[in-house]
């Protein structure tokens, strides 16, 4: 029987590995200090970004760039608006 697949979500990228390799990768990421969430039953893990990295970026006062879609699925990036003052508003239906 083929080895079950294990899904790793790493900085938004989804990769499928063999189960042993996936579990090992998640363990190594955690040992390296990354925030990791694992679900062995579901055979999936999410590798996050360290607080140190996020905090350093914010403390630099350089607004972190991002690319997100609109309702039509078209991507928009913060950097496209360089040269203009930007009011960034985060809201939700909840």
């Amino acid at each position: 029987m083929a080895e079950p697949k294990f899904t790793i979500v790493d900085r938004g990228r989804v990769v499928e590995l063999g189960e042993r390799e996936g579990v090992e990768l998640a363990k190594r990421a955690e040992s390296a200090g990354r925030p990791v969430a694992v679900d062995l039953d579901e055979r999936a893990a999410y590798l996050g970004v360290t607080a140190r990295e996020r905090a350093a970026a914010l403390a630099s006062l350089e607004a972190p760039d991002f690319t997100l879609p609109d309702l039509e699925g078209r991507p928009h990036s913060l950097v496209q608006h360089r040269g203009r003052k930007v009011l960034l508003v985060a809201y939700a239906s909840w």
Binding site: E62, H76, V89
Partner: protein
């Protein structure tokens, strides 16, 4: 007012931190915006900017620098009776900034006003991220376990605690939310943390 300010080199970007584009659609269509209205189902912005609740606003200048870090501001006074926050104050400050009538906050002050993420915050976001992937792939019960774990790791993070309610079959405006809010506030914590003056 935003149209008036556009002539001064100003753009609004709104980001809906919602579970699907469809959840955000009514708001976006009602506003009929001429500015970018984006959807962030993966909470990418929450991770980058340490967003723990909505609404949160930031001001970014022409060079891409944060000049006003995470603040709570509403566009209208609809919720003033709940939040105690006046929309006019932020709008007046915003207008002065855009029109070049106000001096910028010194960088040391901006940094002092920032709330930076901790290790627990990022572990909570990893649990959220796993939950979101599981939810998107139909593993709703497993997702709920990780959402709950995320909320335990970062109890102040309502982008997680309230934001995941729709994915857990809980009404984010209903009794479970009110119970959560009540417990939080009774413990002496603010639900909204607007910037100090």
């Amino acid at each position: 007012m935003y149209d008036e300010l556009r002539a001064h080199g100003f753009t609004v970007m709104t980001v809906a931190i919602d579970r699907t584009a469809e959840d955000a659609r009514p708001w976006i269509e009602a506003a009929r915006p001429t500015h970018p209205s984006l959807i962030d189902t993966g909470h990418v912005l929450a991770d980058l900017y340490n967003l723990v609740n909505v609404p949160t606003i930031l001001w970014i200048d022409e060079r891409g620098r944060i000049v006003r870090p995470n603040d709570v501001a509403f566009g209208t006074d609809t919720f003033k009776h709940i939040t105690g926050l006046e929309a006019a104050k932020h709008l007046a400050a915003l207008r002065a900034w855009v029109r070049g009538e106000a001096t910028a906050l010194p960088e040391a002050r901006i940094r002092a006003l920032q709330s930076l993420p901790t290790d627990e915050d990022q572990r909570a976001r990893a649990e959220f991220g796993l939950g979101e992937w599981l939810y998107t792939n139909g593993r709703t019960e497993a997702a709920a376990r990780h959402f709950e774990r995320a909320g335990e790791l970062a109890p102040h993070d309502f982008t997680i605690r309230r934001g995941t309610m729709p994915m857990r079959g809980v009404d984010p405006m209903g009794p479970k939310f009110r119970e959560m809010l009540g417990a939080w506030v009774q413990a002496g914590n603010p639900y909204y943390r607007p910037l100090a003056e």
